[in-house]
């Protein structure tokens, strides 16, 4: 009989040889996109082939880290037991300014204030409690200074 208080561990780290550079960069807080060299198509998630033209001649390119919330949801009942105690948390598809979209969390803000179109950027800090390096996003921080019109 379980007491219901054990915290289920998060699923283990998953990577394949092709995506090793992606996760190494993620551990440093950098988001890499793939660019196919012949045509310049950008893509996420990384894979062994360009999904647009099937070129296998791919390179890594750091993303600016800026984008906007394309869609989101505030999770109240998690789909996986390991996140049962994290709720409410925000899952989001962020559309990067380069074009591709990725699944992530929006952090550092009340989940109820997240909205479609919200301008976001890579968060200053990411959740490191699990085995997979996360690249999370937070609302764009205001500029250091701006001239008074």
């Amino acid at each position: 009989m379980t007491t219901g208080t054990e915290r289920l561990p998060r699923p283990g780290f998953v990577s394949v040889q092709t995506t090793v550079p992606y996760w190494e960069a993620a551990a440093e807080g950098t988001l890499l996109l793939q660019r196919c060299k012949p045509a310049g198509h950008l893509q996420h998630y990384p894979r062994s082939i360009c999904a647009t033209c099937w070129s296998e001649d791919l390179a890594w390119q750091p993303a600016s880290g800026r984008g906007a919330v394309w869609a989101f949801t505030v999770v109240h009942m998690s789909g996986h037991a390991a996140w049962r105690d994290e709720v409410p948390y925000t899952l989001a598809l962020v559309e990067l300014e380069e074009g591709p979209r990725l699944m992530t969390n929006v952090v550092g803000v009340d989940p109820e204030s997240v909205h479609v179109g919200m301008a976001v950027e890579l968060a200053a800090e990411h959740d490191t409690s699990g085995p997979q390096p996360l690249l999370q996003f937070s609302p764009v921080r205001p500029a250091e200074s701006s001239p008074v019109p």
Binding site: P11, Y45, A51, T52, W54, T73, V116, Q136
Partner: protein, 385 residues
């Protein structure tokens, strides 16, 4: 139709067998050999509109065709898995011919691959892209995709929670006439839906389908003998299929789905239009799916699904009933059999055997099936012309 003279094999490629293939995944080998095959054919990847794959043991337990299609950037109108052991390759070829001969697609990629990596002891039973890129963020399960679809539909079109709540409410009303529905005799109203626990915003518990056990089966036979059997036959008039992605990050759009091209293909094959449809027996795992389906089916303009659901009587007394049996939202979802339930209800109605919930006029039905993240779609037009 006979398979003879429908098609030819124009591309062929192999990866030479090796005792071990360290450092590559099955998906990557599929990509590599597919590329060699399409180059051999002298075609562009964009020419491929059909896909047949084998099971991908250890990497993707389900939704295998969609996973492979997405990895390769394909959006096929025929997406199949052939699971016949060593007969899979040959089995793919005649199935591809049948799809081509039926006009479902023109060019089918049939691909099988297997990585034999001695160093891989799977730490998890699957290591497909969703497992790698979505799950670590807490993005597991089906609900989150539909919640995001609903959020986007609300943001783009102003669809409201009250409008979406119409779906479970009206399905429960229909189920009052279906003693087999899990929620038979349990009507609800909009306030009940909105007061039910939030699962993932904006979807409440009562607008999410309840998993059940159960089953469903249909027998499909050639028309030459269909007329001599006990029940009125229900002819297939048209069919369409479209798979566009597996992971939501790869979706071409969220507020319209591959139902739109699938339904258009089914209508065209059947020689009907949206206003010829008497009955919508449409997949309803979540409220938002029904709103988007009536838009993608051309029943109402894009973005007005919420308002249409509010304004229309979905019961058999209405002009265009939806799921007279109560749909999966009221009947429960017996895993993949839940989707077949929409076929079976259409058959009952078109036979005139729906008893207490029989529609007065039921000649032509649109049936839809939906899978994964509203990314695997099939439409059928059934009925006597």
């Amino acid at each position: 139709m006979t398979l003879r003279d429908t098609c030819s094999i124009v591309g062929a490629a192999e990866l030479p067998p090796r005792r071990t293939t360290p450092g590559v995944t099955t998906l990557e080998m599929i990509a590599r050999v597919s590329k060699l095959a399409i180059e051999d054919a002298g075609l562009e990847p964009g020419a491929i509109d059909g896909l047949a794959v084998g099971p991908q043991v250890g990497e993707t337990p389900q939704h295998v065709p969609a996973t492979v299609a997405e990895y390769l950037g394909l959006r096929p109108a025929y997406a199949d898995i052939v699971d016949l052991g060593g007969a899979s390759g040959a089995g793919m070829v005649w199935r591809a011919a049948a799809a081509i001969g039926a006009g479902i697609c023109e060019t089918v990629l049939c691909v099988l691959a297997n990585s034999r990596d001695p160093d891989v002891i799977p730490r998890s039973p699957n290591r497909n892209p969703i497992r790698e890129f979505d799950v670590p963020y807490g993005g597991s399960g089906a609900n989150q995709a539909y919640a995001m679809v609903a959020q986007r539909h609300m943001a783009e079109f102003g669809t409201t929670a009250e409008q979406l709540a119409q779906v479970p409410v009206k399905q429960r009303t229909n189920a009052m006439l279906n003693p087999d529905a899990v929620f038979h005799g349990k009507p609800i109203d909009v306030l009940d839906v909105l007061a039910s626990p939030m699962v993932m915003s904006p979807l409440h518990l009562l607008e999410v389908v309840m998993p059940c056990g159960g089953g469903a089966a249909v027998v499909v036979t050639a028309n030459r003998q269909a007329g001599s059997l006990p029940h009125l036959p229900v002819p297939l008039l048209g069919a369409g299929e479209k798979v566009t992605h597996r992971a939501l990050s790869q979706a071409p759009a969220l507020t319209t789905s591959p139902l739109a091209p699938a339904i258009a293909d089914a209508y065209a094959m059947a020689g009907v239009r949206a206003d010829d449809i008497d009955l919508l027996s449409i997949y309803d795992c979540y409220s938002i799916v029904v709103a988007i389906t009536v838009e993608d089916a051309g029943i109402c303009p894009k973005g007005e699904g919420g308002r249409w659901l509010e304004e229309n009587d979905l019961s058999i007394k209405g002009d265009l009933p939806i799921n007279p049996h109560g749909g999966q939202l009221a009947c429960g979802q017996a895993d993949l059999a839940g989707g077949m339930g929409h076929i079976i209800e259409a058959v009952r109605q078109l036979r005139g055997e729906a008893g207490a919930r029989q529609m007065a006029t039921a000649d032509i039905a649109l049936v839809t099936g939906n899978g994964a993240t509203m990314s695997e779609e099939v439409a059928l037009v059934l009925g006597a012309r």
